[in-house]
Symmetry: C2
Subunit: 411 residues, 2 copies
Amino acid sequence: MINIALLGCGVVGSGVYKVITENQDILKQKMGKNINIKYILDRKDFEGEPFAHLIVKDFETIVNDDDIKVVVEVMGGVDFPYSCVKRCLLSGKHVVTSNKALVAEHGAELLDIAREKQINFLFEASVGGGIPILRPLISSITADKVLEISGILNGTTNHILTLMSEDGEDYEKALLDAQKRGFAEADPTADVMGHDSCRKIAILSSLAYGKTVYYKNIHTEGITHITPEDIKFAEKMGYVIKLLGKSKILGDKVFAMVAPYFLKKTHPLAMVRGVYNAIFVRGNMVGETMYYGMGAGSLPTASAVVSDVIDCIKHINKNVIVDWKNEDISILDINDALVSAFLRFEYKNLDDFINSVKIEFNTYEIVKLDDLSDEVALVVKGETEKVLSEKIKNLSSKGFKLHNMIRIEEN
Amino acid sequence: MINIALLGCGVVGSGVYKVITENQDILKQKMGKNINIKYILDRKDFEGEPFAHLIVKDFETIVNDDDIKVVVEVMGGVDFPYSCVKRCLLSGKHVVTSNKALVAEHGAELLDIAREKQINFLFEASVGGGIPILRPLISSITADKVLEISGILNGTTNHILTLMSEDGEDYEKALLDAQKRGFAEADPTADVMGHDSCRKIAILSSLAYGKTVYYKNIHTEGITHITPEDIKFAEKMGYVIKLLGKSKILGDKVFAMVAPYFLKKTHPLAMVRGVYNAIFVRGNMVGETMYYGMGAGSLPTASAVVSDVIDCIKHINKNVIVDWKNEDISILDINDALVSAFLRFEYKNLDDFINSVKIEFNTYEIVKLDDLSDEVALVVKGETEKVLSEKIKNLSSKGFKLHNMIRIEEN
């Protein structure tokens, strides 16, 4: 029997309790050992709940108990979890967390401590909820140099974009729907502005490329400016709009970005609907692979947490090699990144507009919608972000108002 | 440095050589050790190839060399590989194979030997080529009871069905195209009759449910009877046709089948085009997950083989727990399986047909195509295979000729 402790008993913590109790037989069969939850740290008492007797209020009880081999941190936040996780690792306890903010901020340092202590710090649930993606990166795509990762990493925004695309709703209505169903917070900022996806692509990229891709250095845009007109143009052009977290090796630098993208309907990520997530990984030998599943939710996330607990137990005296060094990788200046883009302009005379476009771009495509007489889409490829901004400014200065710019995924 | 040997230097073997030599730096970085190929067993001499000096003709050289820690079997066939692999394991060498026929026939026994010897027998590349799917089943979806697996497990047939669906080709032409591109063998029987998919779903199911699902007990159908008319009906009804390997827990039995299925266009597997493969896994906690990538090809398959070699090296003195016991699981009699189906009939008078259908089925759906005046599709749900066969016989005896029966995936 292995004793573990949970720090936090919210959505994920209660899921972890449920997975461990309801799948006890399965876990025993797969590991040959039982997992026993000895403590749950939480401010609430949970009176009447079957786990009320496990509740403790003082972290010291847990960190000072030598019986506890694995600690599960599912509190959220950064500073308090950081100090708890660090102390647990330093005291020789394996730690599992679902906390993306903690990992994106302190992952490399905490992995260093685990390595030194020959124990493990695992965080499968911090990206993609229940989707096995970090362990495949760490222990399956090991024969490859990873060249590129892109993912639909946030279920809230994907639900909103799916509703806008399939039901013709506008952003505000789709957000309300997501809030009603519990898929979006009352304050949806972290999701809709791309901050959540940013932390997740930072973690994925750090594991894929072996050094820290620091989340604060990733250019991040959200979906609040996407309109039904953009969706209509995308539909006509054979694309869907998805919020992607993306990163790619370019020489000795990494390109990384979170932004809405036009994705071809035949792209594997294009079929990811609603609150599902998927991560696309390209290796230099294996080619394209993709991983799909529930990106959030109590039980899927808890499933990933418990799989990490099992991995700790299987490697109780051994550090699982995680190739994420505690040094920053060099990020490509966004101005220098090449970009293909969909640009939606307001115009009065199409000939005037095209003449002005010709001055700026050698090759371009113009798309019109039958029921949108005062707008036109300009599609351009292979400019740097900096040059593209300048050219857009030039067009604006001639009276062609830019309604939106959305990048196009070229793969 | 770890010495390994390759048994066989065909498509996969030469890929393994290439992955290990070209990604040497990456492998060293991820493991802290170099992999050295000491021998390659093959009948050919490969004169002029950079690995010609590694070629040996006698298996005894390899099995008797204590320096060899990991043996990679990529010969194909069953009997000779079986005797080689068994002897290697018995002599304490880890074994990695891409050989699905070997694993489907002898997997459980070879895993037993590896367990006893505290070494490893790994076979990631035997299913889904480069897609990480076996390791996720063994070490990621560990907190779950797996309830269901279905997969597009054969690239040849998926390429043929994609051409039929997207370019309107008939089966024969699509097969010729696949052969021209090197996606199908001169004798395509093993692929188009479903035998290849059958061995793969047998391996997946055995790992998922913990006991042998023996491939000879799986009801298997191929795609040779699929016609452009079937494709047209599917298109009109919002489906695509895919060859699926499927299995599902039903009480204490397992339902398993390989057959073409109608899949809703919104199903994650529906977007899998061309020679790509994907495997869909449902767990009782994690819900739906899916794994996508190149199901064949020299480098993708070799990538999976080398990832297994790395796993062996990481666990050089330790058996990785693989929950596949050497006893057969009970397979549901196909006659008792519930089925929903698309039935394409020839008819002369629609009223006569519908009146006869009403005698057989309480609920049903009738679909007509504008440009197909003498055929009609009957869609029925929830019958057992046995009862459905009888009802089809009754309709045939009244002069309504059945052109095709294709099952419908209800998820």
